[in-house]
């Protein structure tokens, strides 16, 4: 099983560590330089989202990030124990600017104008990464992102 699993409690500082780890392993797995920024940003979004879900629902369980390096693909799967944002609330990216402007009218009454709509992180991931799969059931939600890689680490590659 060519998978390494990283698990961490739902803290913002661990998101940075997870991002750093994913970036280092992606580079080592032969993911092309042109995709590394994408890996860094998308993994960060997926982990931030998971941390927010756990913190928001008071879940103590760890977030799990699995890194797989198979053949010519490098995948990162981030799994939490919480629910997926309802499809109803998933924002239309084309609409975000409109939403931002609308919200502004009521900004004085809004206690947290910094909060973007739920599902924003997932929308960014979808806008960024070509190969994304989001699955969710009663045990939790998982976001799996895949990038092309030259398999420099293949066991038969020596």
């Amino acid at each position: 099983m060519p998978t390494v699993e990283v698990s961490f409690t739902a803290l913002p500082s661990h998101v940075r560590t997870a991002r750093l780890i994913a970036l280092a392993v992606a580079r080592r797995a032969g993911v092309d330089e042109q995709f590394l920024d994408e890996v860094r940003l998308a993994v960060g979004e997926a982990c931030s989202r998971a941390v927010n879900v756990h913190q928001g629902t008071g879940l103590d369980a760890p977030i799990v990030m699995s890194l797989s390096d198979e053949q010519d693909r490098f995948s990162v799967e981030v799994t939490d124990r919480g629910p997926l944002e309802g499809a109803a609330s998933a924002p239309d990216l084309d609409d975000l600017d409109a939403q931002a402007l609308t919200a502004e009218a009521e900004s004085d009454s809004e206690p947290m104008p910094d909060l973007l709509p739920p599902g924003f992180g997932l929308a960014v991931i979808s806008g960024l990464v070509e190969d994304v799969a989001v699955t969710s059931d009663t045990t939790g939600t998982s976001v799996r992102m895949t990038w092309p890689a030259t398999d420099v680490m293949a066991p038969d590659g020596r």
């Binding site: 960060g44 919200a103 947290m112 910094d114 924003f120």
Partner: protein, 113 residues
């Protein structure tokens, strides 16, 4: 890399120079800075992002929050950014239509649209 923040006044505008990573871990620090500025009566902000090397949606949220706060006082929030990898996230989220984005601090200071 942690977040670095510094501010200076240029006429009626305040330039906030941000460096490092703006993410779920550091965004609260930037958020506080913007709130402090607005509370102190600084409603025309120029956020210089040329030294930012990472920005995620939490960071975007804080910038949108800052924009809402200054607009509530008829103010403005302009960004300075030429880095393609940072611009990309504004583009895919459609926020290029919300923020005036300039190539240099001078251009942002001179802008009046």
């Amino acid at each position: 890399m942690d977040l670095s923040l510094s501010t200076r006044t240029e006429g009626d505008r305040t330039v906030v120079t941000v460096g490092g990573e703006i993410d779920v871990y550091t965004a609260p620090k930037l958020r506080e800075q913007l709130i402090d500025l607005v509370s102190g009566g600084n409603y025309h902000l120029v956020v210089d992002m040329e030294s930012v090397d990472f920005l995620d949606s939490t960071g975007l949220g804080v910038l949108v929050g800052g924009l809402k706060r200054v607009r509530a006082h008829e103010g403005s929030l302009r960004l300075v950014c030429t880095q393609e990898r940072i611009l990309k996230i504004f583009r895919i989220t459609g926020l290029t239509k919300v923020f005036p984005i300039h190539a240099t601090v001078d251009e942002a200071l001179a802008a009046t649209d």
